[in-house]
Symmetry: C2
Subunit: 352 residues, 2 copies
């Protein structure tokens, strides 16, 4: 089950309300959703793959995922965070297969190599099948990042296909720099990558216990769930806006973790292109027709039918789209969302 409903404001101007990160070609010439589908093909065939997106992005999502049965693309009539999205999918999936194990993955992460990814999640699925627990795959930190949540792990409780299964002590919100450094020094803290593995029925049991309001909304959706159709917005909007990490994982006592040792990137901003794309001899990442004179360490995204020309620049991000252009220093990549806010403030909603 692929979560594909993000907003992607940090990839403006390429990313828009109706064209979120997962529909962009960032790590390669394929969209991130397409890469995710390819990566998942060894874990589940298309007829057992589900995507949750929202109504605005549903058409483009279905276009990008033509092999997925149309009724497996669930288009939320309102955005109510991951607990709701997963609850809807779990309820649908449990109706199709009462024994189904769900692997929940964001559509907009870059994970390599695919083979290690597949083995890791296959092991997690095996554990979920055998033990009925709620699993997450955490990422071994490569530094004291403050942009991710952390998961504090406990003792190893099992081993599956060579992967260690550990108990989870607690989920930590994004820490400050001091706390992140302490986590790394202490060891046993992994990044929360928002990936989950469980039996659909185990999740629905946990939902009844820890988010009974969500379970009640599923009850109200019963006829829609049986018919395989989207619920009315006024029903779906009753879901509390809460992420699954906080609503379920922090509260449940049968949570386990398998460390993911693959390379993982959440592609948080344009800066990710420096990590994911090939850089030229001067350290530039370019796309489209680019004429870069005396330019180094820049990210310059043009288009096939548009030249972007630069002289004597360093460490800048330049992105050209048909109706908007961005120019900002690399160390301000996170602030691109401020542009989106400003455009909204000015009523330029057709540019966000």
């Amino acid at each position: 089950m692929i979560l594909a409903g993000g907003a992607g404001t940090r990839f403006w101007p390429a990313g828009r309300r109706d064209r979120p990160k997962q529909l962009l070609s960032i790590a390669s010439d394929d969209s991130m959703l397409r890469e995710t589908l390819v990566r998942c093909a060894d874990l589940a065939p298309p007829e057992r793959t589900w995507i949750v997106t929202n109504e605005r992005q549903a058409v483009d999502t279905r276009t990008e995922a033509p092999e997925i049965p149309a009724d497996h693309v669930l288009a939320e009539p309102a955005m109510r965070n991951t607990a709701a999205a997963i609850a809807w999918a779990a309820a649908r999936i449990a109706r199709v297969d009462a024994n189904a194990v769900m692997i929940v993955l964001p559509a907009d992460h870059v994970i390599r190599p695919a083979e290690l990814f597949t083995r890791t999640f296959a092991a997690a699925a095996q554990r979920a099948t055998d033990a009925g627990t709620l699993l997450t795959v955490g990422i071994e930190p490569t530094g004291p990042a403050t942009g991710y949540g952390y998961i504090e792990t406990g003792d190893a409780v099992a081993e599956v296909d060579g992967f260690s299964v550990r108990a989870v002590k607690s989920f930590k919100e994004k820490p400050d720099a001091h706390t992140a450094t302490r986590f790394l020094a202490a060891g046993g803290y992994l990044w929360n990558a928002g990936t989950f593995v469980w039996r659909a029925t185990a999740f629905l049991e946990a939902l009844k216990m820890h988010l009974p309001g969500h379970a009640a909304v599923l009850d109200a959706m019963e006829a829609d769930l049986d018919a395989g159709r989207a619920p009315a917005a006024e029903v779906y909007e009753r879901f509390e806006n809460v992420p699954v990490d906080i609503g379920i994982m922090e509260r449940a006592d049968n949570v386990e973790l398998i460390p993911g040792e693959f390379s993982w990137d959440d592609v948080g901003s344009w800066l990710a292109l420096d990590r994911l794309r090939e850089r030229d001899a001067k350290g530039n990442v370019t796309s489209g027709d680019v004429v870069a004179l005396e330019t180094s360490n820049c990210i310059v995204i043009g288009r096939p039918d548009h030249v972007v020309a630069t002289i004597d620049l360093d460490d800048l991000i330049i992105v050209s789209t048909p109706d908007a252009t961005l120019v900002c220093p690399k160390d301000r990549a996170e602030d691109v969302k401020k542009i989106v806010e400003e455009l909204r403030n000015r009523g330029l909603d057709n540019r966000v």
Copy 2:
């Protein structure tokens, strides 16, 4: 007579081979040619105004100058510099009016105020009528610029309507910084603005004497000149490629100068916008939809249907057009022509 045939590579990407500086709106929302026509209206009515352009730009030039009779827009079949362009116009004008005085003006300069401009050139025209000399209007330097040629003046020889007419000793090529400083210290050196005033017949006499090859090409064009049509390219191409300053003015002994005391700007690069356009509180010059966060002293040229967004930038030039974008520091504005060269080298001729 307006010289409107430039290339304008320093205004890329707005300026193109077929859309030179004089067809761009740089100093105001009107094109520079339009501003020039308005400025000249008090010196000569449309039916006595002539424009020399080239074949590629002829349609756009006529569109921009609808009040000028179509057969007064001379479209050169080849670009052969100012001596040829003026020779063609002079020969046509002399046929229409044997007593005509020509005021030769580039189409891509900004001159203010118009009233002082009009009085200055009217005085020059009076002197040309009375004395039959070849006049230029030179500009009092405001600093030791190295981007202009200089004219070394001699004694005052007359006064017309309060304007001093001076003898001209020599024309100087663009000087180095040391020489320019020496010119300013010495006094009597004015900038060569490429503006000329003379009787058409006086110019044609000078042509016979100093550029006899040009006079011979005019003889070969006689039937075309009588008929008021453009000559064949193979005839026009016989004109030697030489500017009128060097071909005529440096050689003739009846050259005079009137100092122009109006404000004059040759709009040499994008940097001119800092001088000619209003700057906002942060020193930015912007056009079109621009979102400039923490941005100062930048020139940002968007379009009505295109947002250009910036964060944390200083002293940059950013220009967005439908098929090309430029980003460069202000102190590299002169090097924009290198972009054009590079595009030509890459065969991207449709972008220059």
